[in-house]
Subunit: 227 residues, 2 copies
Amino acid sequence: MAIAKTELEFMKEALPFWNALSQNQKERIEATASAFTVKKGQSLHDGSQDCLGLILVKSGHLRAYILSDTGKEITIYRLFERDACIFSAACMLKNITFDISIEAESESRVLLIPTAVYNELNESTLAVSGFTNQLISSRFSDVMWIMEQVLFTSFDRRLANFLLEQSAVEGSDTLHITQEAIANHLGSAREVVTRMLKYFQSEGMVSLFRGGVTISSRKKLEKLSEK
Amino acid sequence: MAIAKTELEFMKEALPFWNALSQNQKERIEATASAFTVKKGQSLHDGSQDCLGLILVKSGHLRAYILSDTGKEITIYRLFERDACIFSAACMLKNITFDISIEAESESRVLLIPTAVYNELNESTLAVSGFTNQLISSRFSDVMWIMEQVLFTSFDRRLANFLLEQSAVEGSDTLHITQEAIANHLGSAREVVTRMLKYFQSEGMVSLFRGGVTISSRKKLEKLSEK
């Protein structure tokens, strides 16, 4: 799985530490990086089982989530074009003791620097270590936001927020997403989502169809999400 | 507030990057580090208002928590002897967008490297950058643990866990902590804590007194916490 020239160019541009690398280091990445396509719904990383390396999203989008023993989930962050993720190389990070899973939410093209290579760079080069730091901090902030939402925000507001976010991701007011999937994003139960969506429908904010939700009043949803 | 020789020695030992520093860098820390005592209940860091620097606990213990607009809290981690905290220098960390507060849970002696000094070290020295990385990763893991607890663990089990942890911290089965304070640790409401503690009492796990809780059956609590 060698990497095409255009994809290598994309990587050079997207990684802020590239210019701080030595010629040797650059060649090592060029020789070991790979690119692959992940289908919608396909898993890319599954907890501590995997330790692929640093991934960089070239197109499409991924979601990272945690999973309980009983199969309950919550989405902790999403990755879009040019976003990098270090938790797919979590084994190289001391003190990271949690497992996350990553799957594609739409067909995605992903570039990869293998863990061993990235770890070498991280341990020898200040600019790479600084980048790792920023990546972890950024995801940490995402997770703190989710935690504040879960703890301090009412469920109606979280659901309104999610529908608006999902609409931005899909670029449409018609969201092809099941109530089960919404529950998994929000760390909630399907019954709770169903009840709240029916309430939203009765208030004229959304209309429900088999396998999805249509936003009928963006204004009302936005008002609720800002409550 | 200069730093005493014994406290400087403690700092040298507790900071794993010390030996990787240049003579100049060591002298810069020695000249700028300070030490101070924080009384029980006193605030040490209050969200984005403060940006003290890297703190290192010499004795006592601190708790870090987040606070909602409505005054609801949850403890996200605790710091004990030799623990360092970087979020008291959060302003130097790119991509950290959340605010935490830190207060002393018992009278504590705290050593401090000012933000500007630590930031210089962090941006120039790989060993320091690696240490920052490990600190952030470690707190991130703490927060993920809390999040999993909040999302996936029943409240009775979380409360049992908390009482056992608190007993280890206080070194006693008699815990001088109000139900309000327990609620703040767990991100819950006082009423919920009261109800569950009364249930624990009826099951012979604890007995309640004004201003505190006594663990009467550690065995039963442990069994519940492992459920």
